[in-house]
């Protein structure tokens, strides 16, 4: 394997380790809802302790269930990953074709 590829894989491994470590360490132990999504809970937290505060605007559309919400989050990630993958496909092919052209010109 090329050195560059090894480094890239190592970067991915470290990122995965950083995400898994809190789970393995049991950082969520003793919490009512370990590893809960932060944003949703913040709403409850603010209303809970500042009962006088009334949210004055409601979301126009709210995913009806956690499943649908996670589907939409997956859709967001998939859209982004798709575009990123397309981009790298284009630039890698472009580079390969350019390299072939230079190689052929070198033969002449």
């Amino acid at each position: 394997m090329k050195r560059g590829t090894v480094v890239n894989l190592l970067i991915v491994l470290v990122v995965v380790a950083l995400a898994v470590a809190p789970l393995a360490m049991g950082a969520g132990d003793g919490k009512e809802e370990p590893f809960a999504g932060a944003d949703g809970q913040a709403e409850t937290a603010i209303t809970e302790n500042d009962p006088g505060y009334e949210p004055w605007f409601a979301p126009l559309y709210e995913p009806p269930s956690g499943e649908i919400e996670s589907a939409l989050f997956a859709l967001q990630a998939a859209l982004g990953a798709g575009v990123l993958g397309y981009y790298f496909g284009v630039v890698r092919t472009r580079r390969r074709l350019a390299a072939e052209v230079t190689a052929r010109q070198g033969d002449d």
């Binding site: 470290v14 999504g37 979301p59 982004g80």
Partner: protein, 239 residues
């Protein structure tokens, strides 16, 4: 009576974006007014960039896509709660902060409209933290560390952009919900303390992922990086 901060601390909550309707009207209006000029300026710069260099459209899309992916990834952190990166460092470094402001605001709008994550009334405040403050601070960190080499500077830029976003969110929340006794500073210290610990490992992950993308760009699209002034000709890595 428990305060907002105690409740937040107990539940290990890290609000990434401020939820719909959860910012008093005056604050919502003020933050929207603060973010608006940056967004308008960004749109102008984006249009100019596309006209001047239509070949950048693909990489622009990829930068926006990176922000989309990262802000959809909720990652567990050491504090036992989940938070997500922002992905704004990359675009700020490649295309300068004003253009990233537009891309980041589009991401926030998508999340506000479809996911009820963040909100329209808090879009101004969230855009200010994630799409204005984050990219500018990240870009500044990138410029300051650029002489150390491309990749260290990219890491610094993405790390700072991520962390700044959450620091600004803390300031916004502390302004809106000051502590009953210690006021704004007390609230800021508490929010900041919770945020920093949760967000530091995520900012490291974001820095590493941004470095990964720039490494891939350097091998596959070095010409683009040189044209954008991110990579210098002599730094080019032979593929």
């Amino acid at each position: 009576m428990t305060t907002v901060h105690e409740v937040l601390e107990r539940s290990g909550v890290t609000p990434v974006h401020i939820a719909e309707g959860y910012l008093p009207v005056t604050h919502a209006v003020a933050w929207s007014a603060a973010a608006a000029p940056f967004i308008v300026h960004g749109v102008i710069r984006l249009n100019r960039q596309i006209q001047a260099a239509p070949e950048d459209k693909l990489l622009l899309g990829a930068s926006g896509a990176f922000c989309f992916v990262l802000s959809a990834l909720k990652i567990p952190s050491v504090t036992g709660s989940c938070s997500h990166p922002t992905g704004t460092g990359l675009g700020a470094i490649l295309f300068r902060p004003p253009i990233m402001t537009v891309l980041g605001t589009i991401t926030l709008l998508f999340q506000a409209l479809l996911l009820a994550h963040g909100g329209l009334t808090t879009l101004g405040a969230n855009a200010f933290s994630m799409a204005v403050a984050g990219p500018w601070a990240g870009y500044a960190a990138y410029l300051l560390t650029r002489r150390l080499g491309l990749l260290p500077a990219v890491f610094a830029g993405a790390f700072v952009a991520d962390l700044t976003t959450y620091c600004v969110t803390s300031v916004q929340l502390a302004l809106a919900f000051p502590d009953a006794e210690s006021g704004f500073t007390g609230a800021l210290a508490k929010f900041g303390g919770i945020f920093a610990v949760t967000q530091i490992p995520l900012a490291v992950s974001e820095g590493l992922l941004t470095v990964l993308v720039v490494r891939l760009l350097r091998t596959s699209a070095a010409a683009d990086l040189i044209r954008l002034g991110v990579l210098r000709k002599r730094e080019e890595v032979p593929a």
